[in-house]
């Protein structure tokens, strides 16, 4: 009896309740949210600073390593947070298992594409872009 109780406690400590995947999804949604508070404000500043200036200004700004690092961080956190949020919405409102599976797969693949495309674009512009 004591043994099974200990195991239950251990599983809970590892975050493996009856749902098996524990609190990982919830936790990363919060981590990305906290990261996005300053990063979103940053992205808005960059967009305002380059608004109406064309791509030359964007390249000058992103040419600064600190600027491109923050912008890459924004893109990664945004894509990740987006996947986590949209997944919860799909889980809550799509009741047909096949449709739900397809939607979540699409959200995850789409999130990876958005993240990769964003990071490569920022680096491309930072490193001189297409002349």
């Amino acid at each position: 009896m004591a043994g099974s109780d200990d195991r239950a406690v251990l599983r809970r400590a590892r975050g493996l309740g009856s749902a098996k995947s524990g609190v990982r999804h919830w936790w990363w949604q919060r981590v990305t949210a906290v990261a996005l508070v300053p990063l979103t404000v940053w992205m808005l500043v960059l967009l305002l600073a380059t608004a109406g200036e064309g791509r030359r200004a964007l390249m000058v700004w992103l040419g600064n390593p600190a600027v491109s690092v923050l912008t890459v961080m924004f893109v990664v956190m945004m894509a990740w947070h987006m996947v986590l949020g949209l997944t919860v919405i799909a889980e809550d409102y799509l009741h047909h298992e096949g449709v739900k599976f397809a939607a979540i797969t699409l959200i995850q693949v789409g999130g990876v594409i958005v993240g990769v495309a964003g990071v490569i674009s920022v680096l491309w512009l930072a490193l001189g872009g297409t002349q």
Partner: protein
Amino acid sequence: MTERTRPRSPHVQIYRPQLTSVLSFTHRLSGIALSVGGVILVVWLLLAAAGGSAFGGLNAALGSWFGRLLLFLWTFALFFHLCNGIRHLFWDAVLGFELANIYRSGWLVVVASTVLTVLTWVIAMSMPGVA
């Protein structure tokens, strides 16, 4: 087996909308809107990196009255999701979870996101080459 229409329990639509439920729903809705906006932001970066004429085309579309209306709504969605997201993070820390405080922070989110949206657009319109 015959299909029977079973009595259903009352669902959300029969309840009078309250600030709490409206903000909760708006958080998800703004999250979906921001996901679309995030994809467009990455497309914008991708076209800037590619260096073709398509970047100018997208900028022209975003600069039209309809484009600016969308950008304005995205700005509001962004600030709303940001402010309400911070409200959620406080709740996660079990802070401000009394009914009176939930309403107080709710109204604060509505006012703050409206003020920040207007402020951002005042700055944006004052940028050279925008207005």
